[in-house]
Structure formats: structure tokens, C-alpha cells
């Protein structure tokens, strides 16, 4: 375990950094849509859609801060694990929530058909979001850190 520790640190820190980047992009998009409606949106990069959603941005930023910040406590196992655990927990939680939302929207489309309404909804945009894509590595980190903790009791 000792030897693989630095690797873990780097991986977690990198994931945290990516979270922070996407969080700031989301915020940027939001500011643009609210205050400068004429300016152009950064709609997507590399196929990842960036919704102008400040709420998600907060969650992403918190996750990023926790993951990236955990490296600051690399000298203490417990402190490090604590930050990683909570950070990846948040990351995974928002993933689960987003997936639930996607499912809900799909069902909703069916229900609206009862009215005879046909709604268009972009499945791709709902799924190719940073919270979903980053949530997957987050869940892996969560699994690993829980396993790490389990070893003790």
C-alpha cells in the first residue's frame, strides 16, 4: 500500500483539478447567460456539454476542492482519507442525482404524451455533462477509499 500511495495522491489531485476547471466553466457560462446575453456561450468542449447551472457548479467546486485539497494533508493518513472520502461521496451523489434526473425526464416524456404533447429532450446533453462524466472516476475513488477504511475493522 505504501508504494502506491503517491500514485493515489496524484490521481485524486488531478481529478480534483478537473472538477475545479469544469466548475469554473459552468460558472462562467452562467454569468454570461445572466449578465451578457449577447455574448457567446461556451457550449461544449470535447463533446462535454457545460450547462450554465450555478448550483451544479457549487457541488463540482466543492468536490474539486476536497479532492485536490486532500493532497495538502498527505502527511496524515486519516485526514487525507477523510477529504477524499467526502469529496468522492459528493461527486458520486451528484452523479446518482443526475442519472435519476435523466430517468425522470424519460418517464416524464412518456407521461406528457398522455396530453398528446411531444417533447424534445436531449438525452445526450443530459448525460454528457461534467457531473456525470466525472462522477464515474469519483465513484471508483469512493469505492477504493471505503475499502481502504474497511481494512481496519
Amino acid at each position: 500500500m505504501r508504494r502506491s500511495a503517491p500514485l493515489m495522491h496524484i490521481a485524486v489531485c488531478a481529478l480534483g483539478a478537473i472538477y475545479l476547471i469544469f466548475a469554473s466553466l459552468m460558472l462562467y457560462n452562467w454569468i454570461i447567460t445572466v449578465f451578457f446575453p449577447t455574448a457567446k456561450l461556451l457550449y461544449s468542449i470535447c463533446g462535454v456539454f457545460i450547462p450554465p447551472d450555478p448550483g451544479s457548479a457549487i457541488v463540482l467546486a466543492t468536490t474539486g476542492m476536497l479532492l485536490a485539497g486532500s493532497v495538502y494533508y498527505h502527511y496524515d493518513r486519516y485526514k487525507f482519507i477523510s477529504c477524499v472520502l467526502v469529496g468522492s461521496l459528493l461527486g458520486s451523489a451528484i452523479l446518482v442525482l443526475q442519472l435519476l434526473t435523466v430517468i425522470a425526464n424519460a418517464i416524464d416524456a412518456q407521461i406528457l404524451m398522455l396530453y398528446g404533447e411531444i417533447v424534445e429532450y436531449g438525452l445526450k446533453e443530459e448525460i454528457m455533462r461534467p457531473d456525470v462524466l466525472l462522477g464515474i472516476p469519483s465513484a471508483i475513488v469512493l469505492y477504493n477509499s471505503v475499502r481502504e477504511l474497511r481494512k481496519q475493522w
Partner: protein, 686 residues
């Protein structure tokens, strides 16, 4: 009187006592099959709750009490518990101990035994103790205390049958050996002296244990002093007590009350040292590890915000299909059935435009509300509340509130009424009053429909954010009002708060569901009574006017509607809201919303003749501009607490403060709405 005949005359009473958060309410539920509120933070129960249990083919009364650390009350909820134990003199006191924190729990046990109560000890949470690496010698504990001790894990039902058995035995009559702590020669001498005076009043010592009385008198317990004052030899007793206190404080060189408490704690410490063995070294529990990040200086607040956002995402986005389903049921299905039926026109209009449209417009949001309740219940059971109190205290203490105030504020997101009652657990009286008074500013679930309807009309893309902004606005105003009230009305420094930090626990699905259901029930009840009545009233007032019956066409024809009573009300009040530029129908809705805030939506639905969640926003988008709609939302958030909240405020703080709340809220609402308009227009927002 023999035990049996006594039971015939008045039921056997069993009280549950213990430190906060040891699982009293869980045990209560186990014993009685009741549904007492269970939550993983100290101060969940703030009221007495009575249930029934069968003992030897008789009904016994079981009382769940708020948590206490000793028989001297420090906050209002503790006073309730203390009085129930001392005044009502239950036949059996089931004292619940926290096995993972025996020393602190034993203090109360010792106080109870000193009093001469008939005690049965339940040693709860042994699973947590084990997790921490402790082993408790139950036999030894039983020996040292001289009362039955039953180890339990309440949430799993372990040990409950044994506990029932012991309670039954205790009910049949058993003399608990009196516990005598040696407080040191000097104190003992004075206790003797006081007892000898007390013995002059046989009535008094028949009612209470005399040694306990003497100790309590030395401890300057005001309540006991009051009681002694009624005796014929009161002056003698009190003179002796005063003399004793003076002698002792001179001899010991310190406060006698604190001295006695310390001695008692030392005794508890000794017992716990003898019974608890550390069998396994556990450096850090999972709770401790998680807490490092949760209570972190930098991460703490972003984590709170994230959790809030997730609560709303869960409540809005995930619940959408259910909302649409209910909407379809009311707006399309039921409405059409009634409209196409062969009933007379008036009845049809009454059912369709009044009842179905009004109630439907509220019930549509039931899924959102239920999902929000689920989330709050989860948070409560996880144990996050106590952490939030810690983090928020850093901000709150500057604003004249304590961290503990955050718990009623969070509960207020569900409903303000239980939240105001929950303030009883706040120790400092000023803090408590302020927290209760600002609580109506916290946006409760009743206001959610208003936001959702308006957000659907104007802010489709940012629904979540706009609604969240209302909640944040409410919290912000609550904090600012608290500061103001603290500076003007409730002056004086706060004594702060102390709260044990419970370990995180996995929420039990059953418990979460029960709590969600109890909260939902309240909402449904309201929909079936107040809201229904109000809707009917609104319908009746819109088809009639000063000129008499107008006819149901009024609901389709705005010019006719203006001549109805509702029109009169709305038009009269309109000049008041001239700067905001709201429609008179919206203003009439505000008028009726005084009873319960959901009524704002149901009234608008009736007045705009909009059946269904889809249609109302469409109508509204014609009557408002986004800016005036936002101001309207803010106004609904703030203006007047609903009737139930006012009643709760009156019950907890008195009529004077209920009126204060009413007045400040109206003024604040007007100012905020005006400010939104005044700031928004120059900014070019419309």
C-alpha cells in the same frame, strides 16, 4: 393503598429518562408501538409524549421525555422532563444509558437514585460501544447501582423483551435501595442538620426523600426551595439551609452547588471506570474520520451549500414525472369528467373551477414536497444537523444567533410549526426567542408551490436556481432580522451552546418513511381542510358580488370578475401595491394566502381560470413581468406567517411576540418587494 388498587384508580406511569440522543424515543416506540419522532441529534424530542403498554393485563402509561443531563433544568425542554419526573412521580423510571458514553449518562442515573426513584436501567447503544472497543461489565454495573440493568440495541429491538420483563417486575413493586454518595465530612454534617429540621414536617418527608431534599436545598435548587416554602416550618428550614451554605462555602472556598455536582460526577466516573473495559484499540472511528472534512474550516460551508442544492435537485428534477402525472389526473382527467357531466351549471363550476382547480393546483406539488421531506429526514437521521450547528456557529455568533439555531431553521424548510416548537432545545432564552421569531422567514414547503408556478412561467431554464435563491433570501433575511432583534429587543450576550456530537448513523428506511409520512400527513390534512375551505370561499366570492349573484361566467370573463367580491377586495388593495405593478387578482390571492400560503396558488388558479400546472404559468406570464414576478415571490416568502405558525408563536412566546412577528413581516415583505423593483428597473431588468 396496595399496588393493584392504586393501578385501578390511576394507571401505572412509566417515564423514560436519559441524556439527549441515547435512543429514548426509539425505546418508547418499541415499548408502545408508537411513532415518536426519532432523529440523530440531541434535542429531537422537546415535548412529553404519552403512549400505552400492556403490563399484567393492564394498560400502563409510558411517557417519552426530552433528554436531560441532570435533574436541574437548563433549557425549556429539560424543564418539561424534569417536572415530569419530579412532580408526576412516575411509578417506574426507565433510565436509558449510552453505553458508549457511560460516564456522562451515569450522572443522571445517580441523581435519580438519590431521589429514590424506582429505576430500571437500559444500557442502550452497546453496538456503538463495541465499535469503539469497549466492553461493559453489566453484572458489575448492576451490583454497583443496585438496580436491574438491561443491555439493549434499540434500533434492532435487541433486549427490548428483557427490558419489558424488568419493567413489569418493577411495576409490581420493588424497593430500590437508596444510593448514598459521601459528599465529604463537612457536607454530610450539614446535610444531617438540614434533615433534622426537615423531619419537623412529616408531610414533606413523606412525599420526598429527605436526604435528597436536603441535598437539593444545598444545591440551591429553586424549584425545591419553592416547594419547601409551602411547609409550615419553611422559615426554619430555609434559615438552616442558608446557614449551612454559608458555612460550607467558607470551609470549601467555592460554590457549594458546583462542588456537589463535581462530587457526583466523580462518583459516576468511578463506577464507569470499574465497569468499562477497553478491549480493543480503536484509534479513529469512521465518524471521526469523516468529520475531519465535514467540519473543516474551508470545506464546511461549501459542503452545506452542496447538500442544499442536492436537496432541491432531488425535490424538483427527480419528482417531475410524478408531478405531471398528478397534474394530468386533476387538470385533464377529473376536470373533463366533471365538465362533460350532466350536472347543473353551478354545481359543475363549483366542482371543476373551484374544488378541482384549487386543490389540484396544490396537490400537483405533492411529489416535490414529499421528496423534500425525504431528504430532510435523511439528513436528520444521518447526524448531519449537529455538524451543521458547529460550522454555522462561526458565522451565526456574529449575528446574534447560536449554531444551534440552524436546526430549527433547517426543520423550518419542511414546516415552521414544528420548527418553532423545536426551539425549546435552545438554552439561552434570548437566542430561543429570536430563533423562533425569525423562523417564519425560512421558506417552508407551503411556499414552494408559489415559487414553482412562477418559476415555470418566467424562469424555466433556471427553475432550480430561482427557487433556491428564494430559500437563500429567506435564510439571509432571517439572519439579518435576528441581528436586528438581538440589537433592539433581546439584548445581552449569548451564553452559547453545548451539544454532544452523535456519531453518523445509517438512516433506517423505516424511520425515514415514517417521518416523511408524518410530515406529508400534515400537508394533506391542510389541503383537505383549510385549503379546500379557502378555495370554496374564493370561488363563492368570485361568482357573487355586491350586486348579488353574478354567475359562473365571471370565472371566464375578467370584466365580470372585477365586479365580484374578490374583485372588490383586489381592486381596493391595488393602490397599495402600485409600485410593484401587480395584477389585482394576484393581490386578492395574497389576501387569502394569509390562512395558509398554498392558498395563494389555489386562489390564483381559480381567479385566472387555469386548470392544471401547465396552464397557470401561461396565464401568469401575461399578468406579470419577470421582475414583478420575482418581487411577488419574495413578497409571498416574507409576508405574514400562516395562521398555524402564528398560533405556534403565540403558544411558545406569547401573544405579544406573535403580533410582533406579524407586523415586522408585513413591513419587511413590502420593503423587500419594493427594493427588488427599485433595484431591478435601473439595472434594465424587466
Amino acid at each position: 393503598m396496595s399496588e393493584l388498587s392504586k393501578a385501578k384508580h390511576n394507571r401505572i406511569k412509566i417515564a423514560l429518562a436519559g441524556t439527549p440522543n441515547v435512543g429514548k424515543s426509539v425505546i418508547f416506540n418499541n415499548l408502545t408501538g408508537g411513532r415518536a419522532w426519532v432523529g440523530n441529534w440531541p434535542g429531537t424530542t422537546v415535548e412529553k409524549k404519552v403512549g400505552k403498554m400492556r403490563i399484567d393485563r393492564q394498560d400502563a402509561e409510558v411517557i417519552d421525555l426530552p433528554g436531560i443531563y441532570s435533574l436541574t433544568a437548563y433549557s425549556l425542554d429539560e424543564l418539561i422532563a424534569r417536572n415530569a419526573i419530579i412532580e408526576e412521580k412516575p411509578d417506574v423510571v426507565v433510565n436509558i444509558l449510552n453505553a458508549s458514553n457511560i460516564e456522562r449518562s451515569l450522572y443522571l442515573t445517580i441523581s435519580l437514585l438519590e431521589m429514590g426513584a424506582n429505576v430500571v436501567v437500559a444500557l442502550n447503544m452497546i453496538d456503538i460501544a463495541r465499535e469503539r472497543g469497549y466492553e461493559i461489565d453489566v453484572r458489575k454495573l448492576r451490583e454497583l447501582l443496585g438496580v436491574p440493568v438491561v443491555p439493549t440495541i434499540a434500533i434492532k429491538g435487541v433486549g427490548i423483551d428483557e427490558l419489558k420483563e424488568e419493567i413489569k417486575k418493577a411495576c409490581r413493586g420493588r424497593k430500590t435501595p437508596e444510593l448514598i454518595i459521601n459528599y465529604g465530612d463537612e457536607v454530610e454534617r450539614e446535610i444531617e442538620k438540614i434533615i433534622s429540621v426537615l423531619e419537623k414536617d412529616p408531610a414533606l418527608i413523606k412525599k420526598y426523600n429527605k436526604r435528597w431534599l436536603a441535598i437539593k436545598l444545598l444545591e440551591k435548587d429553586e424549584d425545591v426551595i419553592e416547594r419547601v416554602r409551602k411547609s409550615q416550618v419553611a422559615s426554619m428550614i430555609l434559615k438552616q439551609v442558608e446557614k449551612s451554605i454559608k458555612t460550607l462555602e467558607e470551609a470549601l472556598g467555592r460554590d457549594i452547588e458546583e462542588y456537589i455536582a463535581e462530587k457526583r460526577y466523580e462518583y459516576a466516573f468511578r463506577i464507569s471506570n470499574e465497569c468499562v473495559k477497553v478491549v480493543r484499540e480503536v484509534p479513529q472511528t469512521p465518524s471521526d474520520i469523516i468529520d475531519f472534512a465535514i467540519t473543516h474550516k474551508v470545506f464546511g460551508i461549501p459542503i452545506i451549500l452542496s447538500i442544499l442544492y442536492m436537496a432541491f435537485k432531488f425535490a424538483f428534477d427527480v419528482a417531475t414525472p410524478l408531478v405531471d402525472l398528478i397534474d394530468w389526473f386533476f387538470a385533464a382527467f377529473l376536470y373533463d369528467i366533471v365538465k362533460s357531466s350532466t350536472l347543473p351549471e353551478v354545481v359543475k363550476s363549483f366542482l371543476a373551477d373551484g374544488v378541482i382547480t384549487g386543490i389540484g393546483s396544490i396537490l400537483v406539488f405533492l411529489p416535490n414536497i414529499v421528496f423534500l421531506f425525504i431528504f430532510i429526514s435523511l439528513l436528520e437521521d444521518l447526524g448531519y444537523m449537529a455538524r451543521a450547528a458547529f460550522i454555522i456557529d462561526k458565522i451565526m455568533h456574529r449575528w446574534g444567533l447560536t449554531g444551534k439555531s440552524i436546526i430549527p431553521l433547517i426543520i423550518g424548510i419542511g414546516c415552521n410549526v414544528p420548527a418553532i416548537i423545536a426551539t425549546r432545545a435552545i438554552e439561552d432564552e434570548n437566542d430561543r426567542n429570536v430563533t423562533a421569531l425569525v423562523n417564519p422567514l425560512v421558506s417552508c414547503s407551503a411556499r414552494l408551490p408559489v415559487y414553482l408556478v412562477i418559476a415555470a412561467a418566467f424562469f424555466v431554464a433556471y427553475r432550480g436556481v430561482v427557487v433556491l435563491s428564494m430559500y437563500l433570501l429567506g435564510m439571509l433575511l432571517a439572519i439579518m432580522m435576528a441581528l436586528l432583534l438581538r440589537k433592539c429587543v433581546f439584548r445581552g450576550p449569548s451564553t452559547g451552546f453545548i451539544m454532544e456530537l452523535p456519531p453518523y448513523m445509517t438512516p433506517l428506511p423505516k424511520n425515514v418513511l415514517i417521518k416523511t409520512w408524518e410530515r406529508t400527513k400534515r400537508f394533506l390534512f391542510k389541503a383537505g381542510t383549510v385549503i379546500l375551505l379557502a378555495t370554496v370561499l374564493v370561488w363563492a366570492l368570485s361568482v357573487t358580488g355586491p350586486s348579488g349573484y353574478i354567475g359562473t361566467e365571471a370565472l371566464e370573463d375578467p370584466t365580470l370578475l372585477e365586479k365580484s367580491w374578490v374583485g372588490v377586495i383586489g381592486k381596493t388593495m391595488q393602490p397599495l401595491f402600485y409600485p410593484m405593478g401587480w395584477d389585482w387578482r394576484a393581490i386578492a390571492a395574497l389576501f387569502f394566502g394569509f390562512m395558509a400560503k398554498e392558498i395563494v396558488v389555489s386562489t390564483m388558479a381559480v381567479l385566472y381560470g387555469a386548470a392544471g400546472e401547465e396552464e397557470l404559468p401561461k396565464m401568469l406570464s401575461m399578468a406579470f413581468t419577470p421582475l414583478s414576478a420575482y418581487a411577488y415571490m419574495a413578497f409571498v416568502l416574507i409576508y405574514v406567517p400562516c395562521l398555524a405558525t402564528l398560533a405556534a408563536l403565540r403558544g411558545e412566546l406569547g401573544l405579544k411576540y406573535a403580533i410582533l412577528a406579524l407586523i415586522y413581516e408585513i413591513l419587511l415583505a413590502y420593503l423587500v418587494a419594493l427594493a427588488i423593483i427599485c433595484i431591478g428597473i435601473p439595472l434594465g431588468l424587466k
